[in-house]
């Protein structure tokens, strides 16, 4: 079943086209990684898919619902972990979880909070104000918050940016655990992250989606030795292969 259906999605800012005629279907339970160089249009795409900004042209259907007509129904079944940590700095970790549970009006919020605290091992920092935590912890909390409403669609915008190796591996485990259960769209600059986690990969450059396939197929098509080489080959059109 198709979870996300994107047709001719375009976003223009005056003279600049940030996303240009993107067509893509993402299956239910799929973990789809969106890769690209800086300014490729990944974050703009995620912002349109999550209903934060309006497209200039094109359509988005989430679980069969039209983004322009059913925005608020769609918003209740998705969640986003933005690129920067998006948490209330003067609130404790528990208060942040509680606040976001209120935003999504979670009925059994204590059970859900306990589950997330356990899943992300937040016990030691639960009553600490978020602004006193390290960047790594803040990012962990930010991602835990994005699961508060048991989203059917989850957007992770560079989730492991700034995390140490151990924290990154721990987070990979969490993301792996989500595979098959919810549809995850992940943007990252780490090739090994996309390679190890995703079912399929989409590569963007200058606002265009220039390749979509599995890691193995992308390597095969470009005759590259590694996925990183395949990525460089695709983005540079073979100039840096």
């Amino acid at each position: 079943m198709v979870a996300i259906e994107i047709k001719d999605l375009t976003k223009k800012y005056k003279d600049k086209t940030a996303v240009n005629g993107l067509n893509l279907n993402i299956e239910q339970g799929e973990l789809f990684a969106l890769l690209g160089t800086n300014g490729a249009g990944k974050t703009t795409t995620i912002k349109m898919l999550s209903g934060l900004i309006l497209p200039t042209m094109g359509s988005i259907k989430i679980q069969g619902m039209d983004m322009t007509k059913d925005t608020f129904r769609i918003k209740s079944i998705l969640n986003v972990s933005p690129q920067e940590t998006a948490i209330a700095p003067n609130l404790t970790v528990k208060e942040n979880l509680d606040f976001m549970a209120g935003v999504y009006q979670i009925k059994d919020k204590d059970r859900k909070i306990t589950e997330l605290v356990k899943q992300f091992k937040l016990e030691d920092v639960l009553n600490k104000r978020v602004k006193t935590l390290s960047g790594g912890w803040q990012r962990k909390v930010s991602i835990a918050i994005s699961l508060i409403n048991d989203p059917q669609i989850l957007f992770l915008d560079e989730p492991t940016l700034g995390l140490d190796v151990i924290s990154r591996k721990e987070l990979w485990q969490v993301i792996q655990g989500l595979k098959g259960k919810i549809t995850v769209i992940l943007t990252t600059h780490y090739m090994e992250e996309a390679e190890s986690l995703s079912n399929r990969i989409g590569i963007m450059a200058n606002g265009n989606l220039i390749a979509v396939d599995t890691v193995q197929e992308l390597i095969k098509k470009t005759k590259a030795k590694s996925f990183e080489d395949a990525f460089v080959n695709i983005v540079t059109g073979g100039k840096l292969a």
Partner: protein, 243 residues
């Protein structure tokens, strides 16, 4: 209700910022106390006139710290996250307004406690004045939301400070507009701060002759216009979060 949930969060953010409490509550109380010790001649500094001035002065800091909170939320990506949630524009606007009202109430109560300790007569008018000032504070909160939606966190501090200065000079809390000249008096008439002060002063003194039609019209027009502008600009900024 999402707006109350958001208000609860905003309230916690605000009261955990010691600087905001110092400027919103401690500084006006200090001024109220100190100006009563100096014994300046004239009616302006009598407790029944100066306490309303202190209330409006306190509100100007409500504008400043609301603007800072909104601008900070915008820059911290928290609003990006909330923008993808089922919260609607009115949840945000009312959430900000409701979070500030308990602080306004706290300001009023503490200002009147100090004023009464300094000699202000305890009357039923104080309760009425507190209720009226809660309504008036909506203008100052909405102004803060508007400023916070338009400028950065640093800019919010700067523009908020301009509002503080405008309140000091044009509300009539320190001196009558007629002392400066006709041009200045016109500026005071078209800005909503003198009207806000007169509404509070009139109700505290049970002297409604102090409130002119111009005060009511200007205050009402500003409140409606600023509120509509705040909702419009805030929503527009939320839908263009990466601009």
């Amino acid at each position: 209700m999402r707006m109350f949930n958001f208000a609860k969060r905003n309230f916690k953010e605000l009261i955990r910022d010691p600087l905001s409490l110092i400027f919103e509550i401690a500084l006006p109380i200090f001024l109220l106390f100190i100006f009563q010790q100096i014994k300046i001649p004239g009616d302006t500094y009598k407790l029944e006139n100066f306490t309303p001035g202190i209330i409006v002065f306190g509100f100007s800091f409500i504008t400043l710290f609301t603007a800072t909170l909104v601008a900070k939320d915008r820059s911290s990506s928290l609003l990006i996250r909330l923008g993808t949630s089922p919260m609607r524009a009115y949840d945000f606007i009312l959430g900000y307004i409701f979070s500030l009202l308990p602080i306004v109430l706290l300001q009023d109560v503490l200002f009147f406690v100090v004023a009464c300790l300094l000699g202000l007569k305890i009357t039923f008018n104080i309760i009425l004045t507190i209720l009226i000032s809660l309504v008036i504070s909506v203008l100052f909160i909405a102004l803060g939301i508007l400023i916070g939606s338009l400028v950065s966190e640093k800019g919010a501090g700067g523009v908020g400070s301009v509002v503080v200065q405008l309140v000091c000079f044009t509300s009539g809390m320190y001196f009558s507009k007629d002392l400066i000249g006709k041009g200045f008096a016109v500026v005071c008439d078209v800005l909503p701060f003198e009207g806000s002060l007169n509404l509070i002063k009139g109700s505290l003194n049970h002297n409604y002759a102090l409130i002119s039609v111009n005060d009511i019209v200007v205050f009402t027009l500003y409140t409606v216009a600023v509120l509509i502008a705040a909702i419009f600009v805030f929503q527009k900024k939320m839908l263009n979060a990466n601009k």
